[in-house]
């Protein structure tokens, strides 16, 4: 079906989005070629200097990017596995099914920046309940101030907040699966594990890919959690890309430089997400 009217459907949304975004994106590019700084607010032109600095003299940005990759891949993987598992558990018969389903959705509905304040008190190393529990065993893990454990804490909070998103998508997917393949598998005498491996998982592959990609996009923006929980510390051990861009931009007011960071980050993300999507499609389809 092909109509000349098709543009009338597409264009309103596309144009509004472009209209709102064209200035910010253009401005970011222009800004990245300037030395706009707290003491010199203005659009001069310094060529690629900011980019040169970024590629030759800013290890911290690349460290933050690596850390971000680790964080987002880990959290999304955990969210996927847990979310899928939970969805499988409340998909079929279980007592209090509605209760569990509603409960599992709730964390997603909370405002991260506010909820993380609660988490900070929750993990407070001397006044919070977590260490109150661990002190029963004579331990006081440093949830927020140990270099490695702080990352774990960030992951825990991220998993808490966003597993519901996966859960929702996976549960919805499961509920829409056709019944026939399961019947067939049952008739063949397949057990729950074989059924999962040969029926459920392959059927869920397409929706899995979509969900993982979307979550990766969202997870890569991780910011509120880090900001509130650890401010990127101790040291730089929990700094992520967007937090680092935030520091350079809204803390140190190196607008020009942070625009260069932003733009570079954006390009890297678009490329890597496209690649990841392709890889996932291959992997999942093969397992199909």
């Amino acid at each position: 079906m092909n109509f000349k009217h098709k543009y009338l459907f597409l264009l309103p949304g596309l144009l509004v989005l472009l209209g709102i975004l064209i200035f910010p994106i253009g401005f970011t590019v222009r800004l990245s070629l300037s030395s706009w700084d707290s003491f010199f607010p203005g659009l001069d032109f310094i060529g690629l200097e900011n980019y040169i600095r970024l590629f030759t003299d800013d290890l911290r940005f690349w460290e933050a990017f690596l850390r971000l990759s680790f964080l987002s891949i880990t959290t999304v993987f955990l969210q996927y596995v847990i979310g899928f598992a939970l969805a499988l558990m409340v998909w079929q018969e279980i007592r209090f099914q509605r209760f569990f389903r509603v409960l599992f959705l709730i964390p997603m509905m909370t405002t991260p920046v506010i909820m993380t304040v609660i988490w900070r008190t929750f993990f407070h190393e001397s006044l919070g309940p977590v260490n109150d529990f661990f002190s029963l065993f004579g331990m006081t893990p440093l949830w927020l101030s140990d270099e490695h454990l702080a990352l774990v804490t960030v992951i825990i909070v991220e998993v808490w907040q966003w597993t519901p998103f996966m859960f929702l998508l996976m549960l919805a997917g499961l509920l829409s699966l056709p019944k026939e393949p399961f019947l067939a598998a049952s008739i063949d005498g397949a057990g729950p594990i074989r059924k999962f491996v040969y029926v459920t998982f392959p059927l869920m592959a397409p929706i899995s890919i979509g969900a993982i990609i979307i979550r990766l996009i969202e997870a890569s923006k991780i910011m509120d959690t880090v900001y509130v929980l650890t401010s990127g510390g101790p040291g730089t051990s929990t700094e992520t890309s967007s937090f680092y861009i935030f520091i350079k931009g809204l803390r140190e007011f190196q607008f020009g430089y942070s625009a260069a960071l932003s733009f570079t980050y954006l390009i890297i993300m678009i490329i890597s997400l496209t690649v990841i999507a392709k890889i996932l499609v291959k992997l999942m389809i093969r397992s199909n």
């Binding site: 309103p12 975004l21 509905m109 991260p112 929702l168 919805a172 829409s176 967007s242 678009i270």
Partner: protein, 282 residues
């Protein structure tokens, strides 16, 4: 064997439930504490372990001049901005998604999937990247600190979500339905709103819910782009986060902020159970 399996299942579900609820229970308990009960170490049960105080909740009702925060107006602002931006995003996003699902576009190397990716890719940008340009843009347009300005920005945040969900949804609606409508005498627009839309209500609801969730939970833009005229709920609540973090009032505020969305969780679940959502998200 089956018994072990069922036991493990219930155990896992219950463990996760505890994990989900724990911070809320902690917040609930903390919301009835005061400075002294907080600094005395972790306690949980009022009366038994600490003397409950309503201070945390009172703060939410007081004016800032009495050390409280105004949350009533921000509450309505949040609802208004979130709903308006969601509606507009869904309206425009649904049209675009329909086009992307039904028609073929080609311009050089750009195909439908690229346009779809362009929409979705808007969510790749961390808010920080856009906040400063947006500030300058809205400043030029005189839209800083206005509901309309925020709505504009939120459209950028939400439309990708609407497009993502609706493209998937429309791909599941047999295109023969639209064709039948055309054959039955509808022009493409009539086919869209008389036939496709009424049959996409589950998808629209899901898209709407996702938009509301993402709009409601945004903090960053609301924080940078408003001053005094328009305050959104998260910003108002964060105004409690003084250099002495008042655990009690923040806990109360967090609970208040979550409350309306629990209703949303129920709606989502209801649609899920009825199976309506399934088609929408497959």
């Amino acid at each position: 064997m089956r018994f072990v399996y069922v036991t493990l299942k219930y155990l896992a579900v219950c463990l996760w439930s505890v994990f989900v609820i724990a911070p809320f229970l902690w917040a609930l308990s903390t919301s009835f504490k005061d400075f002294n009960s907080v600094t005395g170490g972790a306690t949980y049960i009022p009366w038994l372990q600490f003397e409950p105080s309503l201070e945390g909740w009172r703060v939410l009702l007081r004016s800032p001049a009495q050390g409280g925060v105004n949350i009533v107006e921000p509450y309505f602002n949040s609802i208004f901005v979130t709903c308006s931006a969601s509606l507009i995003s869904i309206a425009l996003g649904t049209l675009a998604a329909y086009a992307l699902s039904r028609f073929t576009f080609k311009a050089g190397f750009i195909k439908n999937s690229d346009i779809t990716f362009f929409f979705i890719s808007q969510r790749i940008m961390p808010p920080i990247v856009l906040s400063i340009p947006f500030f300058i843009m809205l400043g030029k347009l005189g839209l800083l600190d206005s509901l309309f300005g925020l709505i504009l920005v939120y459209i950028v945040l939400l439309m990708p979500i609407a497009v993502w969900i609706m493209v998937d949804f429309f791909n599941k609606v047999p295109k023969e339905i639209d064709e039948t409508a055309l054959i039955d005498g509808c022009n493409p627009y009539q086919a869209f709103y008389k036939v496709v839309l009424p049959n996409s209500i589950p998808g629209l609801i899901v898209a709407g819910l996702f938009c509301m969730i993402f709009g409601w939970t945004d903090f960053f833009f609301a924080f940078i782009l408003t001053f005094t005229e328009v305050q959104l709920l998260p910003v108002a609540i964060v105004a409690l986060n003084s250099s002495i973090t008042p655990w009690w009032s923040l806990s109360a505020a967090a609970l208040v902020c979550v409350a309306p969305l629990i209703v949303v969780a129920f709606i989502v679940e209801r649609y899920l159970s009825k199976g309506n959502l399934s088609g929408a998200l497959k």
